[in-house]
Symmetry: C2
Subunit: 364 residues, 2 copies
C-alpha cells in the first residue's frame, strides 16, 4: 500500500458490520446479508473502489429514503428465456442478485436466461454476478449502466457511464476465466488517485470541458470526461464507445430504465439528470447452461487447455507473459481471505461515521 | 479513392458473377445466392476487405476441395433456446446464414436463440448477420473466431484472431444502431495499406517478433502481431484481449471448433495450425426478440431518442460530433447502391482470374 496509512480488518468482521448496518434500515436479514456479500466480494478481490468504501454512499441513500429498503421485484414481462424486472427502487446490491437468479433459473429450464432490470440502483461489481453463475456451471453475463462520465468518440461532454461488461467461463483443473471490465480507457478511480498524488494522467484517458486532450486529473474530475476504451479514432475509440452503448441499451432501454446522460447519479446531493426517460438505472444479466451446448467435462477440459496455451505465450520484453482474466483478483482474494482486507484510513473514517450514524459498532 | 486506379461495377453485376462462380463448383443456386449476398453486402457497406476482394480465396478453397460445396448442417445438441451446429466444413458464407436462422427461429419460440457453430469457415462480415435479425425486429448478435494475428497483452506472438463482435438495435424514424467491430486496435488491412504506401503505422497498433512496439508495417505483416483493442496496459489492452478470448470461447470452445493459435488459416497453402483442437473455425449467433422484453414500438421510440441525444453531443474540436455506429456503412451503401461499387484494379485482376478459372464471364 506504499506509504498510505491503512488498517486491516477480516472479511468476516466487515461482512457482519455491513449486514448489521443494512438491518438498521429495516432491510430483512436475508437481503442485508446478500448486499454485504456483494460488497465484501469486491474488497476481497481487490476492487477497493466498489466495496465497503461505498458503504457511506449506500447509507446516505437509505437515510434520505432515496432507495426502498423493502423492494418487491416484479416481472413485468417474460418469455421462456427472458424476463424484464422492475426492481422497485431497491438497492442494486439486493435487486441484482435476485434478478441474476431469475436468469439462472430460466437457463435451468430452457438452456439460457436473459433478464433486463429497470428501477434499480448501483449493484457493486459486475464480476460478482458471473461468479454466481460459475457455481451452477453456467456462463454468466453481467452488465449495468451508470452515471455519465464518459464522452462518446468525437464528443466533448459526459454522455455515457463506465458501463461494465462481465462474463466468466469455468475450467476443470485451471481456475475460471473471469472477465470484468469497464468500457472506458481508464477507471475514474485512477484519475482520482492521480489527483491525490498530484500526478499527470497519461494521454488517451480523458478530455477537458472543451473536448481537448488533457493530462490534468483536476480538470477531469471537475468538468472533463473520460474517454472510451480505444481512446481516439486511430486506436479504436469508436469501439469502446460502441460497447458502452450496447451495455446502456441492453440494461436500460430493454428494461425501461434511464440511459445515457439521464442516468441518475449514485451520490446523494449531486445534480439530478436533465430529464427522466425511465425508472432508475438498468442492469442486464445472462446465464447459459454449458451442457445445453456441449458436454460439461469436455468444455472444462478445453478451457484448461486454452488457459495453459495462453499462459505459454512467449512473453513481451520486461513482462512475465500474459495473464488470464481474473488472475489478479483471485490472487488478491487468496491473500485477503487469510490476511484480511487493508482499508485506507480515509475509508476507515467513513465506516466509523457510518457506525456513529447507525449505532452499529465498527472497531471492537 | 485518391490516385488509386479503380473500376466501378453495379452490385447486381457482382452478385450475379459471384453466384455463378459458386455454382460452377456444384453449390446449389440457393446457397450460391446466399454466399454472394453476404459478400456484396460487405462491398456495398464499404468493408472492401471482406467482399469480392476475397472471392479468389474462396475459389482457391473450393478448387482444392478444402471446403465442402454441399454441406449438411447438423444440430449436434440443443435446448429450447440453444443449438450447437456442425457446419459440415461448408463455406462460412452458407453455414453462417443458416445457423443464424436457427437462432432467430428459436427466438421466435422462446424469446431468445443462441447458436454456436463448429466445422465452418470464414463467414464474411459479422455485421451481415445482425442486419438479418433487424428484419425480424430482433436484436442480433454475431461473432466469429479467425486465424491468429493478435498478441495477448504482454505476449509477443500471434495467439488470437481479430475476433469481431456485431450487435444491432432497430429504431423507428432513426436508422438502426449497427455495431460491427474487431477486438484488436487496428485492422490487419490498415497495416497492409500502410505497407503498400510505404508509411509508418501509429504507436499502439502492433509489435515485432520480439514483442517490442514497431511502426514498420513490413515487420508486422511478416512476423509481428497486432495488438488488442486498448493497445497497452495503461490504455486497457487487457480489455481488448479479454473480448477476443470471449469471442473465441463462445464461437469455438462452446461448439467444438479450433481456437486461439490453432484456428486454421483462411488462405490456401499457408502453414497449417500446430495442432488440431477441434473442427474448422467457430461462429456464435444470438437473437433476442425485443417484444419478449418490452413493447416493440416503445423500444424503437427510445432508440430514436437515444440516437438523437447522442448526435446532439457537443462536438470535440475539429470534429462534427459523434457518429452513431453504422452511420458510415449505411451512407456508403446508399451511394454504392446507386453509383456502383468501385474496385481497385488489383481486385479486378483477381476477379478476371477467377473468371478464367471458372469460365464465368466477368467483364461483359
Amino acid at each position: 500500500m506504499g506509504n498510505v496509512a491503512y488498517q486491516t480488518y477480516s472479511a468476516e468482521h466487515l461482512r457482519t458490520f455491513c449486514t448489521q448496518v443494512f438491518e438498521t434500515f429495516g432491510i430483512v436479514p436475508e437481503d442485508a446479508t446478500l448486499a454485504a456479500n456483494v460488497l465484501i466480494t469486491s474488497d476481497l478481490r481487490g476492487i477497493d473502489s466498489h466495496g465497503v468504501a461505498r458503504m457511506h454512499n449506500y447509507v446516505d441513500l437509505l437515510e434520505k429514503n432515496e432507495v426502498n429498503p423493502h423492494p418487491k421485484l416484479t416481472i413485468v414481462r417474460e418469455s421462456a428465456s427472458t424476463a424484464t424486472v422492475d426492481g422497485d427502487n431497491g438497492l442494486g446490491l439486493v435487486v441484482g442478485p435476485k434478478a441474476n437468479q431469475i436468469a439462472m433459473d430460466k437457463a435451468d429450464q430452457v438452456g439460457t436466461g436473459w433478464v433486463s432490470i429497470a428501477n434499480t440502483n448501483h449493484f457493486g461489481i459486475a464480476g460478482y454476478y458471473v461468479l454466481q453463475a460459475l457455481e451452477r456451471d453456467m456462463i454468466g453475463w453481467s452488465m449495468t449502466n451508470s452515471t455519465h462520465l464518459v464522452a462518446p468518440l468525437w464528443g466533448s461532454e459526459r454522455m455515457l457511464g463506465t458501463n461494465p461488461i462481465a462474463i466468466a467461463f469455468p475450467g476443470a483443473q485451471e481456475p475460471p476465466i473471469v472477465i470484468d471490465m469497464a468500457t472506458c480507457a481508464a477507471a475514474f478511480g485512477k484519475i482520482e488517485i492521480a489527483r491525490r498524488h498530484q500526478k499527470n494522467i497519461p494521454d488517451g484517458w480523458a478530455i477537458d470541458a472543451a473536448g481537448n486532450p488533457t493530462n490534468d486529473p483536476h480538470i477531469v474530475t471537475q468538468s472533463g470526461a473520460l474517454l472510451p476504451l480505444g481512446s481516439d479514432r486511430e486506436h479504436g475509440g469508436h469501439k469502446g464507445y460502441s460497447l458502452a452503448m450496447m451495455v446502456d441499451i441492453l440494461s436500460a432501454i430493454l428494461s425501461g430504465a434511464n440511459w445515457g446522460p439521464f442516468t441518475p447519479p449514485f451520490i446523494v446531493n449531486q445534480a439530478p439528470a436533465a430529464r427522466s426517460v425511465g425508472k432508475g438505472i438498468g442492469h442486464f444479466f445472462g446465464a447459459m447452461r454449458i451442457d445445453a451446448f456441449i458436454d460439461l467435462a469436455e468444455f472444462k477440459a478445453q478451457i484448461d487447455d486454452y488457459v495453459r496455451t495462453l499462459r505459454a505465450t512467449k512473453p513481451a520484453p520486461g513482462t512475465a507473459g500474459p495473464l488470464i482474466p481474473g488472475d489478479p483478483e483471485r490472487e488478491c482474494e487468496q491473500v485477503r481471505e487469510s490476511e484480511g482486507i487493508p482499508l485506507v484510513m480515509s475509508v476507515v473514517e467513513t465506516l466509523r461515521d457510518v457506525a456513529r450514524r447507525t449505532g452499529v459498532a465498527f472497531d471492537r
